[in-house]
């Protein structure tokens, strides 16, 4: 069995700071991490490999230093890492990203064998769109299983997979055929601690580095800025609300401050008092 896991290097969001004057992101010194949602996908892939045998290839598109992210994935136990990096990919939106990644997966299939399953995380913590997984599925004609909370059964001989999928108002149990693309829901497993053996192997392992040409991409107009139908016109911070906040004076007795706050709340929302009283009566 061959599984490809798509991961992304993202800035550690807890450390992002916005420049107070220019409203741009201050990226200097912000550490990068594997997109946390991707870890659930990676762990699920490793579990399936441990149960059924085969190989896990991790794939990312990003700047040259995204190699660090791939090496981290190798320490968890991935068998192979491929970095897709090229200046032609700069400025890719989700459509261009799914084109590049699906091209690379097709190349991976040629070189290392066709994947039975492609995994992605539910979404990233920086873009938050959840669109690239479905985009890859559509381009590679993989059956699409998003928001998967559990893999109930994998039948490699029969070429079928059964999963539980989070849907609106409940859980769908689905069965489909391989090859499939799965986006894994968060909280569905716990990432393993890599073994010492894997750590040593990861340190020495060669990360496969592909340019657009290496990945077999001929049509560069589908890549990067040129291949992106969406255009970011403006990045900005919202201004303060026109009406300034009414600041409640802090008095030495918290009790008096609290009473002032209640006066402010009920003078602005007079009906709330009756609503809350009714809710309390119903308790």
């Amino acid at each position: 069995m061959h599984i490809v896991v798509c991961i992304k290097q993202v800035p550690d969001s807890a450390q992002i700071r916005v420049h107070p004057v220019t409203n741009t992101i201050m990226r200097q010194g912000v550490p990068t991490i594997i997109n946390p949602y991707d870890l659930y996908a990676l762990e699920e892939a490793l579990r399936l490999r441990d149960q059924h045998g085969g190989e896990v290839t991790v794939l990312t598109m990003g700047p040259p230093n995204a190699e660090d992210t791939l090496r981290k994935a190798l320490t968890f136990g991935a068998d192979r890492a491929v970095l897709l990096t090229d200046r032609f990919f700069a400025g890719s939106d989700t459509l261009a990203t799914s084109f590049a990644l699906s091209s690379a997966i097709a190349k991976v299939a040629q070189v290392y064998g066709a994947p039975d399953i492609v995994f992605t995380g539910k979404q990233t913590i920086d873009g938050d769109t959840a669109q690239v997984g479905p985009g890859i599925a559509k381009r590679l004609k993989l059956l699409q299983l998003t928001y998967v909370s559990r893999i109930a059964d994998l039948d490699l001989a029969g070429r079928t997979i059964s999963v539980e999928r989070r849907s609106e108002g409940g859980v769908q149990q689905l069965r489909t055929t391989l090859p499939a693309l799965i986006t894994m829901l968060e909280g569905t497993n716990d990432m393993r601690r890599g073994t010492m053996k894997d750590a040593l192997r990861a340190a020495r392992a060669e990360v496969v580095i592909w340019s657009a040409k290496d990945a077999g991409i001929e049509d560069l107009t589908k890549c990067g800025l040129r291949g992106s139908p969406t255009v970011v016109k403006r990045v900005f911070a919202p201004g303060p609300r026109a009406e300034k906040a009414e600041m409640i004076e802090i008095t030495p007795a918290a009790r008096d401050t609290a009473d002032s706050l209640l006066d402010a709340i009920f003078s602005r929302q007079p009906k709330l008092e009756a609503d809350i009283a009714a809710a309390q009566a119903a308790l």
């Binding site: 992002i16 992101i25 400025g91 669109q131 928001y147 255009v231 970011v232 401050t257 309390q280 308790l283």
Partner: protein, 370 residues
Amino acid sequence: MTEAPKPAAPAAAGSRASMKKELPEHFKAYKHVWVYVEVERGQVHPVSFELLGEGRKLANKLGVDLAAVVIGPPDEGTRTAVAETFCYGADLAYLVEDPLLTHYRNEPYTRALTDVVNTYKPEILLLGATTLGRDLAGSVATTLLTGLTADCTELDVDADASLAATRPTFGGSLLCTIYTLNFRPQMATVRPRVMAMPERVEKPVGRVITHKLDMVEDDIVTKILSFIPDRDAGKANLAYADIVVAGGLGLGGAENFQLVKGLARVLGAEYGCSRPVVQKGWQPYERQIGQTGKTIRPKLYIAAGISGAIQHRVGVEGADLIVAINTDKNAPIFDFAHVGLVTDAVRFLPALTDAFIRRLSPHNRDRLAG
């Protein structure tokens, strides 16, 4: 695995915007605003009505029609859904009815929506950013090779009639406005509760254009084995609560959430938290408020020890009254709160809870205080 915040955002934005050309000839026939109406088990998801309200405004600005697209099985629920869309502002509805569409599956729903778009050519297509809507939107946009902007917090029409879709970016620390300039339709998703629910006005069913699903069951590979409904489905929840009390890192520790819950209980409110609180493991994800958590529109929102990052702001701005309690007088939450207190929430919340008990429930005082 998603849209990359570009390292060189300002420069890149400039060069992209300057790439705008005349809209290609074959896209000029694309007209009207569409809303995909999400129906599952006979129920319309409220986000679809919220989007009809927003779509109505866009259609009026453009001077075009607002159409609803309903996809589902031939039954009472689907027909009711079609009728309801007119009460929420649709001028016409497109309907794809087939027993194969009884439950949501990516393959037939993608085919149905893609076919209707290719046949009737809308300029704007809006979907709810639910698990269903996100699953469907990504597939449809990739099939059509057009732009899709996820989780928009504001939609508008520019002077040149293109859709200006604003959403948080860089992990919710800034906002950006995104255009799909040279492709049609311009697609966008919006999370539930981000847009206001429009008023329902009784209207007769208008023009309904039916479209046939060009598939048979054998064409569909994925089979549904069963559906397990959530046990708490239909119960009042955070997104629809009238009063919400939430805590942030300013509470200092997981144990202090007792103070938030205590106040919520006295107010008959739901409680929630900010994103860092979930990242710290103090509260589960279901309680997260903000762009990647729940969007709320309560009558009263009390934020205790929350600094008010943009990703939080976009999730609470629909509240009628925002009260912020924070020790830092420069915290961004005071930029959008209506009423503010610069004080330590951990010390203040017990006094506030007590004040509500004294004011509101002379009869229940002892019980509530316990």
